[in-house]
């Protein structure tokens, strides 16, 4: 479905993404992992065209989306919805409007400038919100919601775009474990029910293991691992994270349930207490 062909991005002397090539054949939930600065965000942002690529091609339905311009580019942006770590909502607008903003691309500029949305839009937005379980917050301002709720609004907005794929850049990094689970569950549910590609940057291994069909590991802009989560051994993880023997996965875990072997229950409690 979508094919990456030697996609590269350099910032000055620094190569953030280095000739990355891979293909997603069928609707999968793909997790991208790697330590900070590995190039995960840059990769996703290039797909959505938020960051221009330096070279390479990304082929979707036979078209190089890196070459799109103007209205077709914006049309493509609509087709690959993006979910951000910091939610990127408009804080002072109410939730339902925020969700409806996902449809801006289909609307006439003038009409949208005057805040005119159709009954259809409202209904679609409400059903998206309902699907994420926050329809009752529809009339609140986005900034009044908790982080987890805001992220769900962001996902609702993504749904509203009716996209071919959803790109999520560390969607749970700013959330507490409880909300992280809800958000990841929602993404998974969307992937399963609507059969959409979900490309999700994650910074914790256990989340990737739990939710993804396929995991891509990046290091210094290169893909160093690509396979099913089951192949993701501690050794591989060490390679991805460039960590030494002392690497302890628990340190980055955000799960609240504790996935058995890697995350001993009880560790979280005092940690949470300290930060609280």
């Amino acid at each position: 479905m979508i094919q990456f062909d030697k996609v590269t991005k350099t910032f000055g002397a620094r190569t953030a993404v280095n000739k990355v090539s891979f293909t997603v054949e069928q609707p999968q939930m793909v997790g991208v992992i790697g330590r900070s600065g590995a190039g995960k965000s840059t990769l996703l942002r290039m797909i959505n065209r938020l960051t221009p690529a330096t070279s390479g091609r990304i082929i979707f339905k036979g078209e190089d989306i890196l070459a799109l311009k103007g209205a077709t580019k914006r049309r493509w942006q609509r087709d690959c919805a993006m979910v951000f770590q910091q939610f990127n909502l408009v804080p002072r607008l109410d939730v339902v409007t925020n969700v409806m903003l996902g449809r801006l691309n289909g609307h006439g500029t003038l009409k949208s400038l005057f805040n005119i949305f159709s009954k259809d839009d409202v209904a679609a937005a409400l059903s998206a919100l309902d699907r994420l379980g926050i329809a009752q917050e529809a009339t609140k301002r986005a900034e009044e919601l908790s982080g987890g709720q805001q992220q769900r609004v962001a996902i609702a907005r993504a749904l509203m775009q009716d996209p071919h794929m959803i790109l999520a850049d560390e969607p749970i990094a700013s959330l507490d474990p409880m909300n992280a689970k809800i958000v990841m569950d929602s993404l998974r549910e969307i992937h399963e029910r609507d059969n959409k590609i979900v490309l999700c940057n994650l910074h914790t291994l256990d989340t990737a293991r739990t939710y993804c069909d396929r995991v891509i590991g990046m290091r210094d802009g290169l893909i160093v691992f690509d396979g099913p989560p089951s192949e993701l051994s501690t050794d591989v993880a060490r390679e991805i994270y460039g960590a030494d023997e002392s690497f302890n996965e628990a340190a980055t875990s955000t799960s609240i349930e504790g996935n058995g072997q890697t995350n001993p229950a009880g560790v979280m409690a005092p940690a949470a207490a300290v930060s609280g």
Binding site: F114, R131, D185
Partner: protein
């Protein structure tokens, strides 16, 4: 899913849609209201008639005049004299033996070559104006008006033929007028004439190199002063441009702004302590000071300057005091707000070391409000430079007054343009200076 919705009320689509629609209405209604208001004022201000009456050609004349100058060649029948003068000014009249080469006087006959085939011949009371592509206009001044013969064909737009006056302006830079008392020819040239040195100065027409050499040379043009000083003096005393006068006026304006602002700051700061809740417990004192600030601000600079003109006469002192009075109110209010918002922890820290009241202010309070103080004073300095030109125009003096006077008599637009450019330069310079100082003093860069 839907964990949160378990006990929550079911959201009503209709109601949400109504909300969304209501907001859409507001979004549309607000600009509509503004447009309605603007339409009302459009008619209340009488814009349609105004547009009808507007004289865009004035703007053209004005624009031409501000970048060009004209030389008048006038034949006056009553005095029976010929004058060739820049802008028709007495001070810039060419001597009869020194006419520009496009004016040829041969006894009673005058030939004015306006270039590109345009030619005016004046003989006795008759002017023959040859216009390429049109023909020759012959116009004679008679006892009760002018008699004009035009070439055959329709009368062109640039020509106004009236029994009392002929006015022909075939191009923007050439004009011939005939009335029963005189024939007047205008020839336009680009640039600002006599800008550096007066018409009759020895230095007129010298290049920078020549001037430089002259300034260094020992042979004094004027035995009384050095050459450099002579050059500067000739420049400043230029009667058409009056650079000296303009510079003094600019200086007056800057002085008004600087003095006014500093004075306002000097009085505003101590008074601000009296108006701040955390420094003055006495309600009466505080209230009085605040009302004083309101009074000073509310009266408005305009009115203060009118009062001061009576008391102190005309000049920069009046302007400075008007600014000082108004801004003592504005700055005082701002400072007192800044004082009320200071961080008490710092004061307490100083106090706990056993510092006296004054020391507490010096080290606990001043470092906190100094940045606010400096930046506000600099902001005001910049905007007061502009205000000073305005109240100057109302009578206090300075560049504003010079400007208004020049404009009111709307004669030499290049003079006006010059003064405006100087004013703008000064305002922009003060703006840059104040933001430079602000960066320097506050951010320490």
């Amino acid at each position: 899913m839907a964990i949160d919705t378990l006990d929550a009320p079911v959201i009503d689509h209709e109601r949400v849609f109504e909300r969304v629609q209501r907001r859409a209405w507001i979004t549309i209604a607000a600009p509509l209201a503004v447009i309605a208001y603007l339409t009302y004022t459009w008619f209340a201000f009488g814009v349609p008639e105004l547009l009808e009456r507007a004289q865009p050609d004035r703007a053209v004349i004005l624009a031409t005049d501000s970048v060009a100058y004209k030389v008048h060649v006038v034949k006056d029948f009553r005095r029976d004299e010929v004058d060739v003068a820049i802008e028709g000014e007495r001070t810039a009249t060419y001597a009869p033996d020194d006419y520009p080469d496009w004016v040829v006087v041969d006894g009673e006959r005058i030939e004015v070559d306006l270039g590109q085939g345009y030619l005016v011949e004046i003989a006795g009371q008759t002017a023959r104006f040859t216009v390429p592509g049109y023909g020759t206009i012959v116009s004679t001044a008679v006892a009760d008006g002018v008699e004009t013969q035009l070439p055959p064909g329709p009368v062109p737009e640039w020509l106004r033929d009236d029994p009392r006056k002929l006015d022909a302006r075939p191009s923007l830079d050439r004009r011939v007028q005939v009335t029963r008392t005189k024939i007047e020819v205008h020839n336009y040239f680009g640039g600002w004439e006599n800008f550096w040195f007066p018409f009759n100065s020895q230095l007129h027409g010298m290049s920078i190199g020549q001037l430089y050499a002259l300034a260094l040379s020992g042979d004094r043009l004027d035995p009384q002063t050095s050459n450099l000083w002579f050059i500067v003096n000739e420049f400043l005393e230029n009667p058409d441009w009056q650079h000296g006068h303009v510079f003094v006026a600019l200086f007056e304006t800057i002085m008004m702004a600087v003095l006014g602002t500093i004075t306002a700051a000097a009085f505003g700061l101590p008074l601000a302590f009296l108006a701040a809740k955390n420094f003055t417990p006495s309600l009466i004192l505080r209230f009085t000071t605040r009302r004083l600030f309101d009074f000073l601000r509310g009266i408005d600079m305009l009115i203060w300057s009118l009062i001061f003109i009576r008391a102190f006469g005309l000049g920069p002192l009046t302007g400075a005091l008007a600014i000082a009075f108004t801004d003592t109110g504005s700055l005082g209010k701002l400072f007192s707000e800044a004082l009320e918002n200071i961080d008490n922890k710092q004061v307490e820290g100083v106090r706990a070391t056993g510092a006296s009241q004054l020391q507490r202010y010096r080290f606990g309070v001043i470092p906190q409000i100094l940045p606010v103080f400096v930046s506000q004073v600099l902001y005001f300095l910049e905007s007061n430079t502009r205000s000073a030109t305005v109240i100057g125009a109302l009578g206090a003096g300075g560049i504003g007054l010079v400007l208004v006077e020049t404009m009111k008599t709307s004669r030499d637009w290049e003079n006006t343009t010059y003064i405006i450019i100087m004013t703008i330069v000064v305002v922009i310079a003060m703006d840059q200076l104040s933001s430079w100082l602000r960066r320097k003093l506050i951010e320490g860069k």
